[in-house]
């Protein structure tokens, strides 16, 4: 273990890191670059059209709108990673909202019990998908299309003849969804803790790698990364704090994204998810219990859909027949794809849910500010989705050409 290795050494310094990044882009591994570019573009265009777009108030609203759909999109990222799809997340989220409302308002169950019941219903739906998929090999596309209808039916049945149930405004859930913002010191405190944690991880990792004789991230790169994160989180928090601040629900969403990201990149389960998405046969031969991976992913997706549905209900302070309906489903799926998760499986990251939902909600918010009809909104969102899929296909092709499939 004497020296570092030629290829890695080239990438260890600051310039090397930039070089490696450029290499990756050339090889068609675009990562989050297209969606980040898109976000900047959207920000600039809408700000020019309406000076309120980037105002703190509007951005706070934007973050709050993102939480529910983003959480659902996070689940979609997981199923896309194993190369499958779940078309029923909208219905499952609506069902969860309905169960919560009926249990909490009509039956008077304690809130935690009602929440658990709703989330458990989501998990059960995912388990059913997972078992049917692995037992009978039914394509997930059809299976979840059936679920889309089926769970919509269950949702309507649960809601009964009332059709719409309001959740009391003074309940903890609605407070959480509408009113609860982090006090400034708490928000900054969290930023500092996150940045310190990130820095500590990088430094200790670099130290271990150096001790092991492996190429490690240089101090300057660590400095830039930690500084960049501090700048990003600090600026966002400061700007949002100019209005109501960082919403608790948005924080919950970001925390979920971070947890899923950690699980995907740092655990055996995550590695198995990527392996199954990349090549099922290879994963099976490597001794990975492929069926368990599929089941776990379907369960997580539906569970996150249920959590997203609860967030939406909390924000709306109601559950009704159209909860989780209309464009919830497609927005969530579009968000995952726009964020950079490949439809072909095995590629993507939890953060694509966050970035993708920001794009979708920015477009929606921008067009609303411009007083444009929702017809335009659908058309624009649809076009952006097509663009994202084209980028996905093109980058896949150039990856294949560069031998990085």
């Amino acid at each position: 273990m004497s020296s570092t290795h030629p290829q890695d050494a080239r990438h260890s310094g600051f310039r090397g890191t930039v070089g490696a990044f450029v290499d990756r882009l050339r090889g068609g591994d675009l990562g989050s670059l297209p969606v980040l570019t898109g976000l900047v573009l959207i920000g600039v265009v809408f700000q020019l059209l309406n000076p309120n777009f980037l105002s703190p108030t509007n951005l706070v609203n934007l973050t709050m709108q993102c939480a529910a759909i983003g959480t659902i999109a996070l689940g979609i990222v997981l199923v896309l990673l194993v190369g499958e799809i779940d078309l029923s997340v909208g219905s499952v989220s609506g069902l969860a909202a309905a169960i919560l409302a009926v249990a909490f308002v009509q039956f008077g169950w304690p809130l935690p019990v009602a929440l658990l019941a709703a989330i458990a219903a989501g998990a059960a739906a995912g388990l059913a998908y997972g078992l049917l998929y692995t037992r009978f090999g039914v394509p997930a596309f059809v299976l979840t299309l059936a679920g889309l209808l089926g769970f919509l039916g269950v949702q309507l049945w649960v809601l009964g003849r009332v059709g719409s149930i309001n959740i009391p405004f003074d309940s903890l859930l609605v407070t959480f969804g509408q009113q609860l913002f982090l006090p400034d010191p708490v928000a900054y405190g969290i930023v500092v803790l996150v940045v310190l944690g990130y820095g500590y991880t990088l430094v200790s990792q670099a130290r271990r790698r150096t001790e092991a004789g492996l190429a490690a991230m240089s101090t300057s790169v660590i400095g830039v990364r930690v500084g960049g994160l501090l700048l990003l989180l600090g600026t966002v928090t400061w700007y949002l704090n100019l209005a109501r601040g960082v919403g608790a629900m948005f924080l919950l969403f970001v925390a979920l994204v971070t947890i899923v990201h950690h699980a995907l990149t740092r655990t055996r389960w995550g590695r198995a998810v990527y392996a199954v998405g990349g090549s099922v046969e290879a994963a099976r031969r490597a001794g990975i219990r492929v069926n368990r991976v599929y089941i776990s992913v379907f369960v997580l997706c539906s569970t996150l859909a249920a959590v997203g549905g609860l967030m939406a209900a909390a924000r709306l302070a109601a559950a009704n027949q159209s909860s989780g309906g209309s464009d919830t489903n497609l927005n969530a799926i579009a968000a995952a794809v726009i964020g950079g998760t490949s439809l072909f499986g095995g590629r993507g990251s939890a953060f694509s849910a966050l970035l993708g939902v920001l794009v979708i909600m920015s477009i929606s918010s921008g067009l609303t500010l411009l007083n444009l009809d929702s017809s335009i909104r659908y058309i624009v969102t649809g076009s952006v989705l097509v663009l994202a899929v084209i980028i996905d296909s093109l980058s896949r092709r150039s990856r294949a050409a560069a031998g990085r499939a």
Binding site: G278, A283, A286, A405
Partner: protein, 267 residues
């Protein structure tokens, strides 16, 4: 040539039927530590079936497989792997989108406090690859970016992660160019130096003669001769493969060698 080293794997009378088809009947052979046993035969001779039996995909219908002297049964690929038989299939079964380290450790990743121990895995990957003198520049590139020979190397290196006693290589050179074939053959010699028993399935007689210690010829599901590589020519192997010479113990030996090549035609 005497094979005094420890006998690892031994097959006696192994047979396998698929419905009315007798895929293998009465196969016998042994594998010792530090020995390369090549299994050759024409298409349909039963090579693949034999690989599948040894890797636990199909259990044999008859016959005994002993591992270090103990009769064993292998009913699943996991059984075979746990026993210490690693198989590198012809299609390699690598995950193209994952990097070399991830592929090497796939399914048995090392963890540290619940999280993947990338440092330990990367370090051990390097030392394994260096030990095999593999020409891989970076272990953090996706496997798709590697050449055919490098991919084969990664697949073989992966089979060594579980510290097996026997490695089965199914047509490791079939898809490779000249230089890459040489690279893989060198690798096989290095596996032998490590004291592993190696079963090499191949079509390529030149490769087999270059690395094998013994050659088991299969023909129509039967043993058609076991040769020490020191006293055999490629013509002899070919005639055994094609059936020009019948060495099958189950059938009476022909009194006269048939075909254009005579067995005694050696210095």
């Amino acid at each position: 040539m005497s094979h005094q080293p420890e006998q690892i794997l031994s097959l006696r009378g192994v047979s396998k039927r698929f419905g009315a088809v007798r895929a293998l009947s009465g196969i016998d052979f042994d594998v010792h530590a530090g020995e390369v046993v090549a299994i050759v035969g024409d298409n349909g001779a039963g090579k693949s079936t034999l690989v599948k039996i040894l890797s636990g995909v199909h259990p044999p219908d008859e016959g005994v497989i002993t591992f270090y002297g103990t009769p064993t049964t292998m009913n699943s690929p996991t059984d075979s792997r746990d026993l210490g038989i690693a198989t590198v299939f012809q299609d390699l079964a690598l995950c193209d989108s994952l990097d070399v380290v991830s592929n090497l450790w796939l399914g048995r990743e090392l963890t540290r406090g619940g999280a993947l121990d990338e440092v330990e895995m990367e370090q051990r990957s390097w030392s394994l690859l260096r030990e095999l003198r593999a020409r891989v520049q970076s272990v953090r590139v996706p496997v798709a970016a590697l050449s055919g020979g490098q991919r084969q190397t990664v697949a073989i290196a992966r089979s060594l992660i579980g510290d097996p006693s026997v490695v089965i290589l199914d047509e490791p050179t079939a898809a490779l160019g000249v230089a890459q074939t040489a690279e893989v053959l060198n690798l096989i010699e290095r596996l032998r130096e490590r004291g592993l028993g190696i079963i090499l399935i191949s079509h390529n007689i030149a490769d087999v003669l270059a690395v094998a210690d013994r050659i088991v010829v299969l023909r129509l599901g039967r043993n058609n001769g076991i040769f020490d590589v020191a006293d055999v020519t490629s013509e002899m192997i070919i005639s055994a493969i094609t059936g020009a010479i019948d060495h099958s113990p189950a059938r009476p030996r022909p009194t006269q060698p048939v075909g254009p090549v005579a067995v005694e035609d050696r210095p």
